[in-house]
Amino acid sequence: MALFSQTPTQNASRTRPESVSKRLVREHKEVLMSSWKRLWKAPLANLLTWLTLAIALALPAALMLLLSQASHLGQQVNQSSHISVFLSLDTTHEQGLLLSTELAKRTDIANVSYLSATQALAEFKSSSGLEDILSSLIENPLPATLLIEPTNSFLGPDAIDKLTQQLREQDNIDQVLVDMAWLDRLQSILAISQRFTYSLALLLALGVLLVVGNTVRLHIESRKEEILVIKLVGGTDAYLRRPFLYAGFWTGLFSAIIAWIILQLGVIYLHQPLLWLAQSYQSDWQLQGLSWMGSFCLIFTSCSLSVLGAGLTVRRQLNLIEPK
């Protein structure tokens, strides 16, 4: 009667020398292969599921790709931003030069270029085409100007604010102009887009779980008879769950591959117009496809979601099928 009290593992290892871990690896390999074969029994139905999931994956992935690269572009533009300081009209040339050398010593300022009132007028004359009218003026209406480039580490909005505040308190300074408004707007737009993308990703992840769950539910329903027999001859829950979890894995993998292809096609399609746009801003920015890391993340996310979706459903559905 010792036979009876033995677990199947002991029973199995009695007949042949195979360790438990080896047996598990072999069993998992078998299920991996058999679930792979099962995929091709209904190729069209599976393809449709994969496409559905691929679209749900590609959409947030594409937005994330664009965002991560756009915020990079924002940083680039930020770096070229500068502060224009207009000196009061009664400032002498010497005072202007002195101020510029003093300011250049500050740690938050990388570079100061001084443009005297005369230089400013000359530049304005040549660029505006109003030479005649300007020549008729008795006095130069333009102030001397300082162009200030902040140090890279002081480019944040707070640091810039502090710097402009301090500049305004200086003698001889009439006006401080920072062209930051559009940068602030860009940052806000990026922040909004980011939150939008994350919410969308969360919703679509939920969608993936539901789609996979529903697919698995249908699979279980169609194999109900088989499941009943397996339960009656003593198949464990883990044994019954395994093929569905592996099916979930394959679903995730194929969906991710299709999503990846959709993304790369999108990048190729958008490449030229984005290049023109970037060039018009004198930027050499280009939209890149998914990196190796990005591709891995896409596949990993897709597979995890699918296996999770399958796991959540399979447990409940299998409990519903009991031999009566």
């Binding site: 009667m1 042949r16 088989e226 009943l228 009656l232 003593g234």
Partner: protein
Amino acid sequence: MISFEQVSKKYHEKNALANASFHLQRGTMAFLTGHSGAGKSTLLKLIMLMAHPTSGKVIVDRQDLSQLNRAQVPAHRRKIGLVFQNHQLLMDYSVFDNVALPLKISGYNERDSGRRVRAALDKVGLLDKERLSPQTLSSGEQQRIGIARAIVNKPKLILADEPTGNLDPALSAEIMRLFQQFNQVGVSVLIASHDLELIQRLPHPVIALNQGRISGSASLMGH
């Protein structure tokens, strides 16, 4: 091998089994009779843990079944070879794969499993049909596949629910001879059947059920 102690099972306030007590000795072959609705299936279900008694104690192979939790049910079922009236074969599996199913579940590798499956198929005389689909076989052959599946794991107990229900007398006698052969090598066998004619011709003890009660029993019972 099997002990029922004052076992009752109620479905919707109706007694499917009432105060049933019996004891099946190890290595015995016995019949369970009674017309449909008498509680035969209920009794087998309690042994298979497909149902739990409302009261009383069921002991199989020295194990009190009420002590087993959900996770221990599969291991308990693997100890028992179960033969159904309607075969419960999987039609999209080959004959071989149907019989191999209990071994696959227990984690046998292909070589050992193949050897055992062929031995079982040989015993029921279907060795040459292993690659076929059960659908292409006759009712008697399908029942023999079911029997091969029940014995492939070498259980010490075989339960059969109306194994000859759909078969003609000659085939029925043949199936019973198979069970007798397993019994001769020490396997305990409990067969639910209403085929009284067949049962009376065989020298095995009988547990008779009538409306959920054990109304008559032959020599085997300990109680």
